[in-house]
Structure formats: C-alpha cells, structure tokens
Amino acid sequence: MLKTPIYMDNHATTRCDDRVVKAMLPYFTEKFGNAASRNHSFGWEAEEAVDKARNQIAGLINAKPKEIIFTSGATESDNLAIKGVIEFQKERGNHIITCVTEHKAVLDSCRALERQGKATVTYLRVDRYGMVDPDEVRNAITDKTVLITIMYANNEIGTIHPIREIGRIAKDKGVVFHCDAVQAVGKIPVDVEADGIDLLAMSGHKIYGPKGVGALYVRSKGPRVRITPIIDGGGHERGMRSGTLNVTGIVGMGAAFEIAGREMPEEARRLGELRNKLQAGIFERLDEVYVNGHPTQRLPGNLNVSFAYVEGESLLMGISDVAVSSGSACTSATLEPSYVIRALGINEELAHSSIRFGLGRFNTEEEVDYVTDRVSREVKRLREMSPLYEMAKEGVDLKSVNWKAMRE
C-alpha cells in the first residue's frame, strides 16, 4: 500500500538509514565520552569511534584517514576551505575561480571575501546543460590565482562537472582545487587522487546520515594543502577545526559512508532506472516539458524539468502529497527564480516552471508511478487555467508579446 506524503526531495536531505541510527544510538548514552579526553576509557572509546568513522569516510573517496577534518556540515566545510586557503595564501595571491551555479555556501563565501577586499573572484559561466568548460578554467588562471572551487555535481540540475580535467589543470598550474562534493559522494564514484582534488566538502545528511555533521578532506601530500582555521579553540582536528567533536553524528556519518560505498553500484543503477522511468512517464503524458541539466552527465537520482505555461509553486501546491522542490521565484523570499536554472540561458518563464525531483534510497517504483500520474494530471489542470497555454495554443508567440504594453 502506497503511503503519502511521498518524499522525493533527496537533494535537500535524506532520511537517516535505520542502520545508521542503530550505529549512533550507543553514543548518546553509554558511550558518551569526549573524543578529546585522553585519560580515561570514555574518551578512548569515543576517539576510537571517531577514528573508525574517519576510516569509513576516507575509504569512500580514496583519501587517508588523517586527511578528514570533521565539521558541522558542508556549509562550514566550504567556508573553511575557501576562507582558509585565501587567508593562508594571502602573501602569494588572492584570486579565486568559481562558477555561477555553485551552492550558496561557496558563492557567499567568495562574496564575503570580495566585500572584505581579501579576494577577487572570477565567476565562470556554464553551458546550456549547466557544465563548466575546463578551458575556461585554464584561461581564467592568473599569477594571482590561489584557489579553484568547482562543485562535483550540481544540487538543482544534477549536472556533473568535468572534475578530473579541472583537477589536472589545477595541478599543472599549481593552484589549490576545492570541490564541493555534497551531492556526489555516495552517489557516483569520487576519488580525490584520480580526480586531483585538494579539498573536498562532504555532508552526512545527504547520504542517509544525520544532519549537523560534515567533513572536509584536506590533502596531506602531493602537495600538502595548508589552511588557516576559521574557528579557534582547543586545536582539535589537527588545529584546523576546534570544537568538541560531534561523536554521535560522526559515527552516523561514518556508517552512512560505509553503506554508501558498499551499495553505490546497485543503488545508482536502480535510481537511474527509476529516474528514467519518471522522465519517460512524464514525457509520454505531457507536451512541452523540458529537462534542465545534462542529458547524460547527470546524477542518477536527479530529474529537473520545466513544465511550460505552469508556474512551479502552483504545481507544488497541487501535488501537496508529494514532496519535491521548485526553482520558482515564489518559493523564495527574493521573488527571483533559481539562479542555477537562469544560468542555463533558458527563458525566464521556464525557470519559473521548473520542478526538481530527487530520487533516493527509499523511493519505490510504485511511488514513481504515482508521482508521474499525479504531476501529469495537475499540469494538465493548471494549463487549462493558464492564459499562456491558451495564447500558445492560439498560435501567439509569447516572446513577441509586449507584456508591459498590455498592462497599460
């Protein structure tokens, strides 16, 4: 029996896996020690658990355990990586290369540094599939460039950037390469060695672990990457991130990463199939639907589509028993539609009409069928209510309409 509401917003967060919760539970009560307590068994036990998690996380990305720095989440990891490199390298240079579709944790860290006069930033454009061109990265490098920060896969449209090529360019030019891999780790293979990544931001809750815990991979060799901490205190995490370790969260994140590593091939295949089924089902029932993102270089669980002539938030309202998200302006306080969708160069109306489906571990084929049907029926209903659909069916070219003049 199908249970509603259906959760299909797994890019936002994921349900904690029961196996993860089970691993965490003892660390709330009987194993509650502080991992920094060096002189009793409670502390040793906690430290041991943290070390195990460090191994589990390092294992998934082909890193060494000591290269994993625990944080409160990927936003902190991005802040630490970007601000940490800029501060440490201030004698050498101050130029950052990033791209317009990055997560706000990256973009706003860059903007903060610009505002403070600590950095100049190049924001690279993306192609119509949301992909950055490695040649543009190469061409943007100056003798002041100290950091390249490009995400592994985009959180809205799922586009996977050519990370390995960018990693090679960064290495060639001796520039530190930071990669926000929040959406990629555990979903597709990520290998910091093969990919040439120096800093990598990760999150627990995007891969069926708990919220409030994340990590930053910091390369220790070839070359050793140095960062200045942004949080000062007891010198935890090799001085890079002070603060008592969130042992329970770290244990959960470790368990989640281990499960992801083991189950990724099968899970990616299954989610890819479910996603393709959802896409095919929607396209079969509706005309004028457009995929946002790369046709092939895309996360397996991601489907971002624009339903022409239907505004995204109104569609979300109509499918209230299905949890998905919209790039529509109306879901945000700014009244601006998604900057990621707009960066693809599609028209603004389609940006307002975009819906992101994020399939995850706990979604079933039955749910996909239900959502396909539900969405298609609601789009049809809203199109019957849409003046734009009516005009388009009458043969009016919406681009030729002077909307301002009509208002007067």
Binding site: E313, S314, S328, C330, L335, M406
Partner: protein, 137 residues
C-alpha cells in the same frame, strides 16, 4: 510556507475559470503581469451598457496565491458597477485571503487586472460606438 484555507479553497476549486469568445461584445479583457516575473493574469468582464458587471472569467499563470487572488476577484466584481469595481483596493484581497507580505504583489496584480479589464471595455465601447454613428450618418 503554509497557505491559508481560503487560498487553498480557491486553488482547489477556482471560480469562473475560462475565457469569453474573443469577438463577444461587451467584454473587456485585462492581461497583467509578465511570464518572466512568474505571474500573468487574464481577467475578462462582461459589462452591460449601463456599466454593470454581469459575468467574469479568469485565467492565471502564477503561484497559488495569484490563482486564488484572481479567482476571488471574479466573485468580488460580479454584480458590481464598474465605478465601484474600479475602486477596489488590493488590501481587500489581502484581507480576504490572508495573504502573507511576500504574496501582496499577487493582490496588486489582481487589482491591476480589474482596472485593465474595465479600461479595455471602455476603450472598445468608445471605438465600437464611433463606427456605428458613422454608419447611421
């Protein structure tokens, strides 16, 4: 953001959705907003020669609050004289639908739609009268 029960009701059961035939006499059409802003409302009013609004229909591209605002407006103006309808302020819509501050622009758009539809009717009526006179002369 949670929607008010009145917004939900208008969204689930929109009143007076549709269009009058293009060439129907006595119909004024107002189209306001722009697709790139995420809101377009089309409001059509059937108005008697004496200026009474006899019927209203709408179509809206926009969020739930925009749909609800236009749906409510069709109910609000029916049976009113154009002089009364043209004076309707967006605050009436905000109050009725419990719109949060971020959705006030939806009510402004609905107010604009009423004015645009009535002005269109006036313009068309003026234009329609002229040739009739000319024919008679």
């Amino acid at each position: 953001m949670a929607y008010s029960s009145k917004v939900l009701d208008h969204y689930d059961n929109p009143r007076n959705v549709g269009s009058f035939a293009k060439d129907e006499p006595n119909v004024g059409t107002g189209v306001v907003g722009a697709p790139e802003c995420g809101d377009v409302m089309k409001l059509q009013l059937k108005i008697s020669d004496s200026g009474m609004i006899e019927d209203a229909k709408f179509k809206t591209f926009g969020c739930g609050s925009a749909i609800a605002s236009s749906s409510y407006v069709t109910e609000l103006v029916k049976g009113k004289h154009i002089d009364e309808a043209i004076a309707i302020k967006n605050t009436v819509i905000v109050k009725e639908l419990n719109l949060p501050p971020v959705k006030i622009h939806c009510s402004v758009l609905a107010e604009d739609a009423i004015k645009a539809a009535i002005n269109d009717w006036k313009k068309r009526k003026g234009a329609g009268v002229e040739p009739a006179k000319a024919q008679r002369a």
